[in-house]
Symmetry: C2
């Protein structure tokens, strides 16, 4: 427990209305999307960068642990106060879009801005912020940057890191730093923004983020391909991408996922299909979009696609996307406990990866429905079991370990977009050598010698 | 001078044929494109990563300075052995394209591969590596990554950092690390590749680089706009980019540059024009390219463009590009000494930036011809004086200091693509706060506690 004199000090900085230390609020801030929970000692809502600086400086002097938090929607526990201390919550005050600079096509935001609020604001003026994690309706840009969030549109437009031009941040000692510029090119000094991205709040507290925007493409078209086998669909994915077409999205559902969606929502999906691929293309000219869809249809059909459906209007497009967007909740038909991983491999080994996952499912007699962003090799892999059966849960964790090993063996990564946090920390040593782990620790120490910022995350303790 | 026992040890690692310590060779490796020179104590050509590891480990134990080198074509002295020691030259053995993975659209190369060799190899199989620094015919990928090289195509396709997916590198202690994957998404662990990019060989020695490739666009078209004033042209640049069109290149020559090219090459350029803009668009459909050029012409003409010339064929395109490509050598008509900087600002302040530069030119009575990659706000600013007049050279350096200050005042950076090295090290404190410099130093120390790797670069000593 934190001493009351510290709480008094923080109250002096931010005012009584901006600090919680009562039980009810501590419980409210003890969760994130992992459903794990750890109570903090206090929750503080900084009003501005100066508050953040004063708070960090004090915490550093008194070795008080501090955990930055956006919406708490992370899947790996990055925002959980696993070692108690202060939760620094950005949602109340530091949630402003400070500027949309149309001339330079740049947005400057505070970390607590919700992703979708930014998307809407920039689209209103004809610009586009592509990163669209599934949590876009509630997750914050600060969290997106800290975890390097991906999304549906990554196949064409990349991920959060591809849009971060500059950051302002507070170091654990209270120093405010600026990194990067409102320029496409900047090679003066070390790429500090580059290392802050995906650092999960362990190196510094973000206070301002400058994001690249692009012109909003004038139109989008949607299509769906039905495949007899997963293998055919996975071959079609990388062959499409290598054919010279870059679809905005190339999303996939396997048979188990198709069945779960159909059972839950009754949309007339082809329940005997081995896999569905859902794709969007965009651009400024109707002819260009048709050209892209023609190419995709050609590659799909060369790879076993039995039916290629083009959406004729927005309603048909929404119908096609419905299955993909509702895949995750529908999976509960296979069990109350879902171990949901976001492993990613080079696209061309997707066929082998899926084969390995289904072999693991067979071995442990569990269902492992898969869906996800195959355009960028990112497969949401869900080991489903009955959460009330401890033996089942134990088996699920064994299966997950093999899922990670299979991914790493194929040149993939533990996480494509969710981060490591607490949930994947035990697997870091499967993915990184001693030398690499030692380097991570020395970087952590360079920024945060007293280890006050989000300790124990990423397997660094 | 390095002790002969050390030379013997290195000879034992790489063999006699792969180490030089004779005067002639030391002089050959004492230069780069800055024309500054510092002799190393020895030049070693590692055969492979294991050699690099052994050499670094030994250097670290004996505190011997080591400077990695690609082609030595840098403009800021990044590869100069300013503190003597070993030059680790990658061009002899570590110069292989290891793999072009067409399925995943990825190339894996050693650091000594020449940029253009990679471009040609991937284009032969229908793929595209966009970063095209002016040095592309001789600069190496290792150098490009270490300086985060830009190029003509950055306006649409970004710069080197946008293509680095993964790196292998040797730390100063000899440890080999892998960072990143052959995947679009990877958020496990700190973004080590992100911090190695643009680190100018001060943190680790790159031994292998995995680069993203994209499908090669089927066609390109070129056009030129003639403007009465620089201000009109600069307005047209950012308005074009903000209009929804992203040209591959949007290059600019000011009146002084136009005159220099015309005087040197007699190409019939409009010597009374305030500025020329040269632009390329690309894509897969003729109609799409025409659409893009129509939009550009419209915005240009709304902003004072007096003539818009579309190249009808490759020859006309080459003629249009000739002026831009030969701008740099032509400037010698204004003096034998050129202080060539690559400052970069947010595009929308280009008009003010150029105004400030010409005011500086007036103040010091020097010529400051400007040209460059205005599509990304990157202006090659050349203070031209008579190199045989020490007083003139002194004035030139004063002017350059004001060029930097004007750039920083407008939210710009000291360097868009050349890096800091030795040449810009004195100006780092204009651009970075004490806290930022302290952070750079602590990162340097985390990687290289004995400061053996390329010391004194980037103003860190």
């Amino acid at each position: 427990m934190i001493e009351s004199k510290h709480i008094e000090h923080f109250t002096g900085i931010v005012g009584e209305e901006n600090i919680y230390s009562d039980k009810a609020h501590l419980i409210a801030y003890s969760y994130d999307a992992t459903r794990e929970h750890f109570e903090p000692d206090a929750v503080i809502f900084p009003r501005n960068e100066a508050d953040v600086s004063e708070i960090l400086k004090y915490c550093n002097e008194h070795k008080i642990v501090i955990v930055p938090r956006g919406a708490g929607s992370g899947f790996t526990g990055g925002a959980l106060p696993s070692h108690g201390g202060i939760v620094l919550a950005m949602e109340k005050h530091m949630n402003k879009i400070l500027e949309i600079d149309m001339k330079n096509m740049v947005a400057i935001v505070q970390p607590g801005v919700i992703n979708m609020d930014l998307q809407r604001a920039v689209e209103e003026v004809g610009l586009f912020y592509p990163p669209d994690p599934a949590s876009q309706d509630y997750s914050t840009i600060g969290g997106n940057v800290s975890e390097n969030a991906g999304g549906m549109r990554a196949a064409k437009y990349g991920i959060t890191k591809d849009y971060v031009m500059a950051t302002r941040a507070v170091l654990p000692n209270g120093d405010v730093i600026k990194a990067g510029k409102r320029t496409i090119k900047d090679v003066a000094g070390y790429n500090i923004s580059g290392i802050l991205i995906a650092s999960e709040g362990t190196l510094a507290v973000l206070t301002e983020i400058t994001l690249k925007l692009i012109p909003k493409p004038k139109m989008t078209k949607t299509a769906m391909g039905i495949f007899p086998t997963v293998n055919d669909a996975m071959e079609a994915v990388y062959k499409t991408m290598a054919s010279g077409i870059t679809p905005v999205a190339m999303e996939f559902l396997d048979n188990l996922t198709i069945r779960a969606v159909e059972q839950t929502f009754h949309k007339g999906l082809p329940v005997d299909a081995g896999a569905l691929l859902v794709t969007d293309v965009d651009g400024n000219l109707e002819d260009d979009l048709n050209f892209q869809l023609d190419q995709i249809e050609k590659v799909f059909k060369e790879n076993g696609c039995s039916e290629f459906r083009r959406a004729k209007d927005d309603k048909e497009a929404a119908d096609i996307w419905f299955a993909r967007r509702n895949a995750s909740p529908a999976l509960s038909v296979y069990g109350s406990k879902k171990l949901n991983e976001d492993v990613t491999v080079p696209r061309a080994v997707l066929p082998q990866l899926l084969e390995k996952f289904y072999a693991i499912a067979d071995k442990y007699s569990v269902n492992i429905p898969c869906f996800g962003h195959t355009g960028d090799g990112n497969v949401h892999t869900n080991v489903m079991v009955d959460g009330s059966e401890p033996q089942q849960v134990k088996i699920a964790y064994k299966a997950i370990e093999e899922v990670f090993q299979a991914t790493i063996d194929l040149g993939g990564t533990l996480s494509g977009e969710h981060g490591i946090g607490l949930a994947k920390a035990p697997y870091m040593k499967m993915a990184f050598s001693d030398a690499e782990m030692a380097l991570f620790k020395s970087i952590k120490k360079a920024f945060d010698p007293n280890n006050i910022l989000n300790p124990a995350k990423m397997g660094l303790d």
